[in-house]
Amino acid sequence: MKKTYLATVSLAALLAAGTAQADKLDDIIASGTLRCAVVLDFPPMGSRDADNNPVGFDVDYCNDLAAALGVTPEYVETPFPDRIPALVSGRADVGVASTSDTLERAKTIGFSIPYFAFTNVVLTREGAGVDNFEGMSGHVVGSVAGTFEGIKLEENIKAWGAGEFRPYQSQADVFLALSQGQIDATVVTSTVASSIVASGQYPGLKIAGDAPYPIDYVSLIALREEQGLINYLNLFVNQQVRSGRYQELYDKWVGGTAPGLTIDGVYR
């Protein structure tokens, strides 16, 4: 009786010790691969080259992170609404996917300190009759379901009481709908809007002024309980800025002075 009790206790202790040790950071290093959730219909942050391979700011950022960890990067393409589910369901380790650090999301996933910052602009089509932000009132507009700017735009349409909002499931569908005339305008980050207009892929698209939204700080994401990993990500973002790599990547993909990542008058 006593013997079995002892055996059970020691076995339980052994099992507990075995499961309590390794966290996500250990797992990544041990497995030798870092699986990054990236969004690939959001140039210049993420897109595909002529060979359909992933490229972009976020892809390079993932490569840097993998190099720092000493592992090989692997890209898991996720449309915007799928970023967090992909992380939660264990398909990816880290999200390098321009994720706005909202409080609602922080209930589900963990954020690093911001690694990029966007301002939002109105993207419309020639002849659609939208000249500025307020001009969208009464028009059919669209954005990606559940994104920072998508949620804001839907609220605007409701507040104006005129027009219609359509949530699409990927950024590519929004641009396609806009260029085809299914919708008249969308709100999107200025970086992406200029890149889309400059690419000439979607003829007739133009930027019609800023959207009066606060600066959209975006962070790397990981599972909420993986504090060790999030701690590593924070330091990594800090080092990217400190080493000048952040500016270097900004020059490569966007050009100009990289946006500041600190907020005046408050910690973190």
Binding site: R91, S170, L176, Q201
Partner: protein
């Protein structure tokens, strides 16, 4: 005829997507048929009460949209910590989904064999297993085969939904190309043609078989 930026490489990319579509189909139909045959035979033989739990589960699989089943299965495997890949989730869920329809087809086939025929077989001294193997199944197969071919094609088309799990199958590869090349109509038409080329010949074969066997009845 078409002025397109689509390259041979992009066509290979689509072909790779079609390969994923086909491999998921093969796995789902294989395991789905295996499970479905067992479920169907059980439902045809067991009493309604004994089969009730199974009947309910199969009924749910046929009454909830596959897209929602896939999303739920994926959410569940992450909650339970299985650590399955999306491909695995897709194969498991589609196999179960296939088995639900296959069970009905198999049950219909077995029940189409007249009871007197089976009684005659047994009275000739055949065991239950001999009757099943030599009399009932061959006859049931004939009734069930056209439905089974239809099911296989249905599953092939339903695999398009696994793009939701992040699997780059045929339809998702075409969306990726549309994003890059901005030729939605042309690329979507090619994609539709690929689905059609896979599905149509098999559908025709099924129709032919059905017609020929009907003549012999």
């Amino acid at each position: 005829m078409f002025d397109t930026a689509l390259t041979l490489k992009d066509l290979m990319f689509l072909a790779k997507g079609a390969g994923i579509t086909l491999s998921i189909t093969v796995v789902a139909v294989l395991f789905g048929t295996l499970l479905g045959t067992i479920f169907g035979a059980f439902k045809a033989q067991a009493s309604a009460l004994a089969a009730a739990p199974l009947t309910f589960v199969l009924d749910v699989l046929r009454s909830v949209p596959l897209l929602i089943q896939l999303i739920l299965a994926n959410a569940f495997q992450s909650i339970a910590g299985f650590g399955w890949s999306p491909f695995m989730v897709a194969c498991v869920m589609l196999s179960l989904y296939t088995s639900a329809y296959c069970a009905e087809i198999v049950r219909g086939g077995i029940e189409a064999v007249p009871a007197v025929t089976r009684r005659a077989a047994r009275s000739l001294g055949m065991t239950w297993a001999q009757d099943m193997a030599n009399v009932t199944l061959p006859m049931a197969l004939r009734v069930a085969l056209p439905g089974w071919i239809g099911l296989t094609l249905g599953v092939m088309k339903d695999t398009a939904l696994v793009l939701w799990l992040g699997i780059i199958e045929l339809l998702r590869s075409s969306q990726i190309l549309v994003t890059r090349l901005q030729e939605p109509l042309f690329i979507l038409l090619i994609t539709g043609a690929i689905y059609f080329l896979i599905s149509f010949p098999i559908a025709r074969l099924g129709g032919r078989l059905e017609a020929r066997w009907r003549e012999n009845d």
